[in-house]
């Protein structure tokens, strides 16, 4: 199938709107992706036609809602090639998934154990581990990166030892777009019997992941970065590891039997799904995956790479512009600064021209510290963006530069 971006754009109602009098150019996809009509409709359809609480009622509506919700879980399982559907835990998003694992390990780790994270983590993948280390006396080690924004794997080798219990790394850096060599990271960790959690928030809508092939222990992501709704995501974990983790929250749905003496926990996945979940969100997540798969992640990836190469080349023609994150393996994210100009100023001017980019430290202050900068301007592309939009963006950057220099 040939990739028809103009046809795809028609699926996204928001792309038709104007901002500040200009057609919207949405280059903040790493923060959240836009939603196709079919996903929006699925939420309306749920509330209009079969809204009811799942897993409990014997009545028809509850059965129907449970079936569609559980089908969404299976869609996630198949999309990522997990072995079992009960290895997919619905969460409120990536951060929630990370916290389930971190909180579980707080009971399993002991003083002197070591946790390895990468130097390019999002704050949500640093803070829980720091808290975990404070609680357990475990020690946090950091895999450094080089000037290209690429992890130095020989340093990782040096950090690994029999003390290493956990490794946490993002699949793709949100601030730089670097794709980390997670397969190699996992293989090496497993040589020391350490478990690996991968934060896939920035990866899932851009590159494909096969959990069994990667042999990853835990993987987390959010629906809203994959054309799905906000407030829903998943935690994948290998069955035996999830079974060993203590539950995260108490409440309804996560129990098997409750007496005042003792409660036995439900089996996976319900052990980690206390309370009524985001039902419409889970269902719409499933629809979003269908939508992405109909286009094809590989087709999306190659189109986005074209956009990335085109924009990179055009941006580098601007004098004084520096890109952060210049490794070979990256997704369609460009983080940059222009000499002597604050990223906030650039973001403000291009916003006036209808262009949405992110400015600031992108919740990754350690990266900004590494490059000794207050922040960057970050343009992140999706498969519904076009080269014409990139041209408009380049013109806007040039205009901002002229005004601000």
């Amino acid at each position: 199938m040939s990739f028809d971006v103009q046809k795809i754009r028609l699926d996204f109602p928001i792309l038709q709107r104007k901002v500040n009098g200009y057609p919207l150019v949405y280059f903040d996809n790493a923060a959240t992706s836009q939603k196709p009509q079919i996903v929006i409709d699925s939420i309306v359809d749920y509330y209009s036609n079969y809204n009811s609480n799942i897993h409990r009622g014997v009545h028809a509506l509850s059965q129907e809602a449970t079936d569609v919700y559980e089908l969404a879980r299976k869609k996630i399982q198949h999309h990522f090639n997990a072995k079992h559907s009960h290895e997919i835990i619905f969460t409120s998003g990536t951060t929630h998934g990370i916290n389930i694992v971190a909180s579980g390990y707080s009971k399993l780790l002991k003083k002197g154990d070591e946790i390895i994270v990468s130097a390019m983590e999002h704050h949500s993948n640093i803070v829980p581990w720091q808290m975990l280390c404070e609680e357990t006396g475990a020690v946090l080690k950091v895999i450094p990166m080089n000037e290209e924004g690429v992890l130095i794997m020989s340093e990782y080798d040096n950090l690994l030892s029999s003390k290493t219990k956990l490794v946490f790394v993002n699949h793709v850096s949100n601030a730089l777009g670097t794709i980390n060599p997670i397969k190699e990271i996992i293989e090496k960790a497993h040589q020391y019997d350490a478990k690996v959690l991968v934060d896939g928030a920035q990866a899932c809508s851009h590159i494909s992941s096969n959990f069994q092939d990667l042999d990853v222990d835990f993987y987390v992501a959010s629906a809203h970065k994959m054309c799905g709704p906000t407030g829903v995501g998943f935690l994948y974990g290998k069955s035996d590891l999830l079974n060993d983790l203590p539950p995260y929250q108490g409440g309804g749905e996560m129990i098997k039997e409750v007496t005042f003496k003792k409660t036995t926990y439900a089996d996976l996945p319900h052990k980690f799904e206390a309370g009524t979940p985001n039902i419409s969100g889970g269902i719409a997540f499933g629809v979003a995956l269908d939508y992405l798969n109909a286009i094809g992640i590989d087709a999306i990836n190659s189109f986005e790479n074209e956009l990335l190469d085109y924009a990179t080349q055009k941006l580098l023609e601007i004098e004084g512009l520096k890109i952060y994150g210049t490794g070979k393996n990256k997704t369609a994210v460009i983080s940059f600064n222009i000499d002597g100009i604050h990223p906030y100023d650039i973001g403000t001017i291009v916003d006036k021209l209808g262009i949405a980019v992110r400015t600031g430290h992108h919740c990754a202050q350690p990266i900004m510290e590494f490059f000794k900068i207050p922040g960057t301007v970050r343009a992140s592309f999706a498969f519904y963006n076009t080269k014409t939009e990139i041209d408009n963006f380049i013109e806007a950057i040039k205009k901002a530069k002229m005004m601000l220099s």
Binding site: N20, H342, Y344, T348, H361, M403
Partner: protein, 141 residues
């Protein structure tokens, strides 16, 4: 001049601009030209951290008026600071406390004072008011 009359004056000046570009060019010029604070006052104590840009604010009581100096690492933020200082600096604490910032709305810069911008300006205005309150209490004693 009273705070109110300075605000009127600024609204008048901005009404001469035809579009946002001119407004921003004016603010950028303000941001570039005016030395707003002494380097010795750009201390951590005077720093207001925004997620997007940093703001430094220093206050001194000179006779019965508060003299503010301030700066930012982002030039548009600095331009707005220049406007805010023109309104609030060298005024009596009582007048500062009574004043509002509605004029920012009228000159089309409301967005910059939204808390979600996280550029430090909302905190700066709060800080200006707090200084005024502190000096007002001091003067009464």
């Amino acid at each position: 001049m009273t705070i109110e009359s300075i605000q009127e004056e600024i609204i008048d000046e901005f009404s001469m601009f035809d579009d946002w570009m001119q407004r921003y060019e004016y603010m950028i010029d303000l941001g570039k030209s005016i030395p707003l604070i002494q380097d010795s006052n750009k201390t951590d104590e005077n720093l207001i951290k925004g997620c997007q840009s940093k703001v430094w604010l220093n206050a001194e009581l000179k006779e019965d008026k508060v003299a503010f100096t301030a700066d930012s690492d982002a030039i548009i933020t600095k331009g707005i600071i220049a406007i805010l200082l023109r309104v609030f600096s060298d005024k009596k604490p009582k007048e500062i406390l009574a004043a509002n910032t509605n004029f920012i709305d009228e000159i089309g810069l409301k967005d910059h004072l939204s808390p979600t911008r996280a550029n430090g300006l909302v905190s700066m205005i709060k800080q200006i008011k707090l200084y005024a309150l502190a000096y007002e209490t001091q003067l009464k004693k």
